[in-house]
């Protein structure tokens, strides 16, 4: 049982690292066509409920971090395709799973983790520009805890820290853009930059202005090379770069990073999709 939990957690960790890497236009305002579904090794299961509404969830995550995302397309706005994305997740079971003694313990098990609910809203605008598909997004993240949340309940690692910190700060903002360009018929690239802020978090008395506003911020950037073998299978590889402000100062990381050999390995992802009849 212990081993199974460990495997699940490692898988989930990879999902966070690779998650939203890219599947078929999940970053853009596009909605999956009705009855089409997609899933990747580290990706959520997505399902086109109607021509304007898409559901998605991380199936394996569901048991340790119940989550659901709805994406809805809207009427065009100034030449941009527009969509909104609404996500809800409950991270407590997952955090309790990694709050343990011994190897794999990310959180001190003597600290109580209260029930918490995370909510995220994004507005996505997409349009073709200069031979590329460009998407802009912006939104708000809200984190609520039912009881006092000990400030030590966090994981000071890239990608994880700023997502969990929303529950300490209660709110945060995110914005960013994605650029996708076809190189050949089957080969394309994707580059994105995301910026998130937790206003007022962990600031000093002497801080003011922009420093106070940004609080603990993070930049995430990724670049991917995508080979679309067929309509049902594609292969992705690339890197992710994270720069952020943490309680100990700022830090940069290229992910995934294999610490024991001090070397970088490319992220690789396989994805499948098909339409139900």
């Amino acid at each position: 049982m212990q081993k199974i939990r460990r495997v699940i957690f490692i898988f989930l960790l990879f999902s966070i690292y690779f998650g939203n890497a890219q599947n078929w236009r999940s970053h853009s305002s596009s909605i999956l066509s009705k009855k089409r579904f997609e899933v990747g090794i580290f990706q959520p299961f997505r399902y086109g409920y109607s021509e304007t509404l898409e559901y998605s969830t991380y199936p394996l995550w569901f048991f340790v971090m119940p989550n659901l995302t709805l994406k809805k397309s809207h009427e065009n706005f100034s030449g941009y395709n527009m969509a909104t994305k609404w996500s809800l997740f409950y991270p407590r079971p997952l955090l309790n799973m990694v709050s343990k003694k011994g190897i794999g313990g990310f959180i001190d098990p003597t600290i109580k983790i209260p029930p918490m609910l995370g909510f995220s809203f994004s507005l996505i605008l997409t349009r073709p520009m200069l031979g590329m598909d460009m998407s802009f997004k912006t939104g708000i993240d809200i984190g609520l805890a039912s009881d006092e949340l000990d400030h030590r309940v966090n994981i000071e690692l890239p990608l994880l820290y700023h997502r969990l910190s929303v529950f300490h700060n209660n709110y945060g903002f995110h914005t960013g853009f994605d650029i996708e360009k076809s190189i050949t018929e089957k080969l394309s690239t994707l580059v994105d930059l995301d910026f998130s802020i937790l206003p007022g978090m962990d600031i000093k008395d002497t801080d003011s202005g922009i420093t106070k506003l940004l609080g603990e911020y993070s930049f995430e950037h990724k670049a991917l090379l995508i080979y679309e073998k067929s309509e049902t299978f594609r292969f992705l590889t690339g890197y992710k770069f994270v720069f952020g402000e943490y309680p100990f100062g700022s830090e940069s990381r290229v992910l995934p990073f294999l610490p024991l050999v001090d070397s970088w390995i490319p992220m690789i992802e396989l994805q499948w999709g098909r339409s139900l009849k």
Partner: protein, 373 residues
């Protein structure tokens, strides 16, 4: 083309700053991190006699039942309590009127102590002006028990400017798996020069060490040998030094088995010194000659606490933090030492046992005589 010329160097920079190892390793000698107090305080003491203190401050956790060393459950201290204890440590150093302080187990950005830079805190809250810090363990994230990020090590604080500071690498333990060893303590000797205390043509050095605590192989012997080598280099150059630290060794003639005092619930002291974890850090005869490991130091240099007095209860400087709760023991052995190749001023050497609640180690202090200045 110009885009490639812009993007390529950016990528090189990004990979360089983003691809650092999770646990830092060191070359045989490296540069420590240097500090200065936010406000300089002029030394007012008599510079012919300088007060030296050594203290393992246990990262400001006081007597917390920590999971590594005291049968505890907790990996992280309460951050408010760390601030209170660090202030008590600063106050104690001020009361002692310390001129030079050798610290062990000082955190500068560890989750367990609220990411406080304890070197900077002590400089800003004492009359000490300069600091040098050498990390013993610098790991971005320890994936165990919720310990998280850790950066802990040795520090020298001084009223006088420190120069030519060096971190001297000590051998790693050989009784651990590669994975554990990767994220484990990388102990060191921290050495610095104080030009203001030079004696004519002779330089004056401060040397701080924290030797291995839990090794069951001969790592401790290697650490003490390297320490002796470092001190003899100074001695052979006809220079002066004060030195000390947490040697994790008992004085010659001491009891060597503290297992019954230190053991946790469910542990047994069964005589299996090599394999039974209850003997790690509580038994001082893991290799031949360990009980006499400090004899060369006592023979070669002047000890603040004479060998004849070293095993007196009034000079005990340590007991694991849970010993008081479990066995009503505040201190039961001496692990912290001060030596010099100059002279200690008679009657000034103390083991400050009244500070027993502030750390699981008590400070040892003495006044070194710097005549003929």
């Amino acid at each position: 083309m110009s885009i490639i010329h812009t993007i390529f160097p950016l990528l090189i920079i990004m990979f360089n700053i983003g691809c650092e190892p999770f646990a830092k390793s060191y070359s045989s000698t490296s540069n420590p991190k240097m500090y200065e107090a936010d406000e300089y305080v002029s030394p007012t003491s008599n510079q012919d006699q300088v007060k030296v203190v050594t203290w393992n401050i246990r990262f400001g956790a006081g007597r917390l039942p920590w999971f590594i060393d005291s049968c505890g459950e907790k990996a992280l201290a309460n951050y408010d309590s760390v601030e209170i204890i660090m202030q008590k440590i600063a106050d104690t150093l001020n009361v002692m009127e310390a001129d030079i302080v050798l610290l062990q187990e000082v955190d500068i950005e560890s989750k367990r102590s609220g990411f406080m830079d304890q070197v900077q805190f002590l400089l800003n809250n004492t009359n000490l002006n300069y600091g040098a810090y050498a990390s013993m363990m610098e790991v971005d994230f320890v994936f165990s028990d919720g310990l998280g990020r850790i950066n802990t090590g040795n520090a020298i604080l001084s009223k006088f400017e420190l120069t030519e500071a060096k971190r001297i690498k000590l051998r790693l333990r050989t009784d651990q798996s590669t994975l554990v060893q990767y994220g484990y303590a990388r102990r060191n000797i921290l050495k610095a020069k104080i030009p203001e205390l030079s004696q004519g043509t002779k330089d004056f050095y401060v040397v701080n060490i924290h030797a291995t605590a839990f090794a069951t192989d001969d790592t401790k012997k290697q650490h003490i040998n390297k320490y002796l080598e470092t001190l003899s280099d100074i001695q052979n150059n006809n220079d002066y030094f004060v030195t000390g630290g947490d040697l994790n060794s008992v004085p010659p003639g001491s009891v060597t088995d503290f297992c019954e005092n230190d053991k946790c619930d469910g542990e047994e002291c069964d005589g299996d010194y090599e394999n039974n974890e209850a003997y790690q850090g509580s038994y001082f005869e893991h290799f031949e000659g360990e009980p006499d490991i400090l004899v060369p130091l006592y023979n070669s240099y002047e000890s603040a606490i004479d060998l004849a007095d070293a095993n007196l209860p009034s000079h005990y400087s340590h007991a694991p933090s849970t010993s008081f709760k479990r066995n009503n023991i505040k201190y039961d052995r001496k692990l912290s030492y001060l030596f010099t190749n100059k002279t200690w001023v008679n009657g000034t050497s103390r083991t400050h046992q009244s500070a027993w609640e502030i750390s699981d180690h008590m400070p040892v202090s003495s006044m070194v005589m710097l005549g003929n200045r």
